[in-house]
């Protein structure tokens, strides 16, 4: 996969209205968090549940973006890591009686372990070959889950008790779940963006941009590529665990190939080599199928396809890439306007 024209830190440290760009970035993040906190009080319970799922998808997509967007390893099989996280949480709760909030970290670690195991053979594969092998993982997932029915409950799946809000908190179950997912999302995005801005993140991008040169700079390719697979799976596995908790149910057929394809669609539509793109992608894969259904009962997938085409036509670098580009252009326009004034 060629580098999707990312802007890692190419923005000059410029000032807008006397304050630097980093300040404005923080303001935007604070605003977004505020909207996310207030959102459940502006919409119905059903919508709150939908936004919870969009947030869960966003965490899953962040994992995929790290691997495919930043490190250049294509995965068409991330639904499998979502399933591993979901089933790990479900089995811990159902079979071992672990409280739901204690299942998220172990579920993520289980996905991490499988991700690392998968990352090892992936070292020998590139581009389309890796895409096909990960796709085969997605294809096989439901059958694997059915096969180990002693643990997974076979095709029936596992039914879980949905956690209720504590009695002293009069907010209802949906909002309670929403806020817990939001907290996990904030931690995940904080850690993810720290990682990508660091020595490690630059090494991941260097490997994607020019592997030979990256090795000559001292970057241990097998180590970083394998860890990228593991960390990516960790995020997606955590998302899977949250999905199991909020829907109160896991079954093999909810982790089919289409889920994996939806993930890559969401990543690309949101902006695959960005952090914030995962949020837009999560919203896309949660809401666009519904909207398509509302527009046409008869041919919802045709409508979905048209949405997809429309998004990629207008924003080929994804929603986040589009916003970044606009911001740069706006700045350049202001700069030249300022320069004209000074003349």
């Amino acid at each position: 996969m060629s580098a999707p024209g990312t802007i890692v830190s190419a923005l000059p440290a410029q000032r807008i209205a006397g304050l630097d760009a980093d300040f404005w970035r923080r303001v935007l993040i604070a605003l977004a968090v505020m909207i996310a906190v207030l959102l459940p009080w502006a919409v119905s319970d059903y919508r709150v549940f939908q936004f919870t799922q969009a947030a869960i998808y966003a965490v899953a997509l962040l994992g995929l973006n790290i691997l495919t967007g930043y490190n250049g390893q294509i995965s068409l099989g991330h639904g499998a890591f979502f399933a591993i996280g979901g089933y790990a949480a479900a089995i811990l709760m159902h079979k071992l009686g672990v409280p739901y909030y204690l299942t998220i970290v172990p579920a993520g670690l289980a996905a991490f372990a499988v991700g690392v195991l998968f990352g090892l053979p992936a070292l020998r594969l590139e581009g389309l070959y890796l895409a096909l092998v990960t796709l085969s993982m997605a294809v096989a997932t439901p059958q694997f889950l059915k096969y180990f029915d002693h643990w997974t409950g076979g095709s029936q799946g596992i039914l879980l008790r949905k956690p209720a809000a504590p009695l002293w908190l009069p907010i209802g179950r949906d909002r309670w779940l929403y806020y817990q997912v939001l907290i996990v999302l904030l931690i995940a995005f904080w850690a993810g963006s720290n990682l990508l801005k660091s020595r490690t993140g630059r090494a991941l991008v260097a490997i994607r941009d020019h592997p030979i040169s990256a090795a000559a700079m001292g970057i241990n390719l097998p180590l970083y590529k394998t860890c990228a697979f593991g960390v990516s799976a960790l995020f997606t596995g955590i998302a899977g665990a949250m999905a199991a908790i909020v829907t109160g149910f896991v079954a093999p057929d909810s982790f089919n190939v289409f889920l994996s394809i939806s993930f890559i669609v969401g990543s690309v539509v949101g902006g695959i080599a960005t952090v914030s793109g995962a949020i837009f992608g999560g919203i896309f894969i949660q809401f666009i199928p519904n909207i398509a259904n509302q527009i046409s009962d008869a041919a919802p997938w045709a409508i979905y396809g048209m949405f997809l085409l429309g998004f990629m036509y207008v924003m080929p670098k994804g929603v986040a890439g589009f916003i970044k580009e606009r911001a740069i252009r706006y700045r350049q326009a202001r700069e030249s306007a300022d320069a004209d004034e000074a003349r």
């Binding site: 020595r199 490690t200 040169s213 090795a215 000559a216 700079m217 001292g218 241990n220 860890c227």
Partner: protein, 264 residues
């Protein structure tokens, strides 16, 4: 005899009997040469002589079928490609090999990767080691950009810069690991007259100011003869001359090798 031995043990880099084959082609045929600490050494030869292949052996990108390479008293062939920078060898590439989505500064910071230690977990949770490193690495990177005269372009996307400037960024990136030995593969390639003159001064300052030994591959004869303390000439994968530039320039086999080809 004793003098020869002394030179051999004093050498910072010692290539001995290295052979590299690609299928039927013998790209390097039993080559040996040394580079002493503090030298600027030139590796010359017509196109296809095996110069880049020799660099790729030193970078551990190619594995020689025979021979040994010692650097600062240790065997390089025991190391992996990613351990070469940490061992003290930096390099640039014949064709630009920058990280094209990154800014100039980030490119150079990646050059200092081998000087850092922080990992996935510490970086994700902003542990103090990672933050301190981040400061140190970006200070080193900025210093190197200043050294090559490009500090004012630090924040620019690398892809937006002209070829000659990108080559200088590559040099800064190689310097960011603070190497003992710097390998430059055709640093003057594609540069204009002025840029070549500037480059000579820059390479001298790398040796004199930073104390880094330099081994450079070059086609540009005036440049390489003017700057090198010693020159090694290759032809068809063999060393045909080794010595001071004035001697190598007059060597019959070197003249023949270059006259036999269309271009020098």
């Amino acid at each position: 005899m004793t003098a020869a031995l002394k030179i051999a043990t004093d050498a910072l880099l010692e290539v001995r009997g290295v052979t590299v084959r690609f299928g039927g082609i013998v790209a390097l045929d039993n080559i040996s040469f040394t580079v002493a600490e503090g030298q600027i050494a030139g590796l010359i030869g017509p196109n296809g002589a095996g110069k880049t292949t020799a660099f790729n052996v030193l970078s551990r990108l190619y594995k020689p079928s025979e021979g040994a390479v010692r650097f600062a008293g240790r065997s390089l062939l025991a190391l992996g490609a990613h351990q070469i920078a940490g061992a003290g060898i930096g390099r640039t590439f014949q064709n630009l090999a920058l990280f094209r989505s990154m800014s100039v500064l980030d490119n150079v910071i990646v050059g200092a990767h081998a000087r850092g230690k922080s990992g996935f977990l510490g970086n994700a949770f902003r542990a103090s080691l990672g933050r301190r490193e981040e400061r140190e690495l970006s200070e080193t990177a900025r210093a190197m950009l200043t050294f090559v005269g490009l500090d004012h372009l630090a924040e620019r996307p690398i892809a937006s810069l002209p070829f000659g400037t990108q080559k200088r960024v590559e040099l800064a990136r190689a310097l960011a690991s603070k190497p003992r030995l710097l390998l430059l593969d055709e640093p003057a390639g594609g540069l204009n007259h002025e840029e070549v003159a500037e480059l000579s001064g820059l390479v001298r300052r790398v040796r004199d100011g930073l104390g880094i030994t330099v081994l450079l591959v070059e086609h540009h004869m005036a440049f390489v003869m003017g700057i090198s303390d010693k020159v090694v000439a290759l032809d068809f994968g063999r060393v045909i001359a080794e010595g001071p530039p004035a001697e190598v320039r007059c060597d019959e086999r070197v003249i023949r090798a270059y006259l036999g080809k269309a271009e020098g």
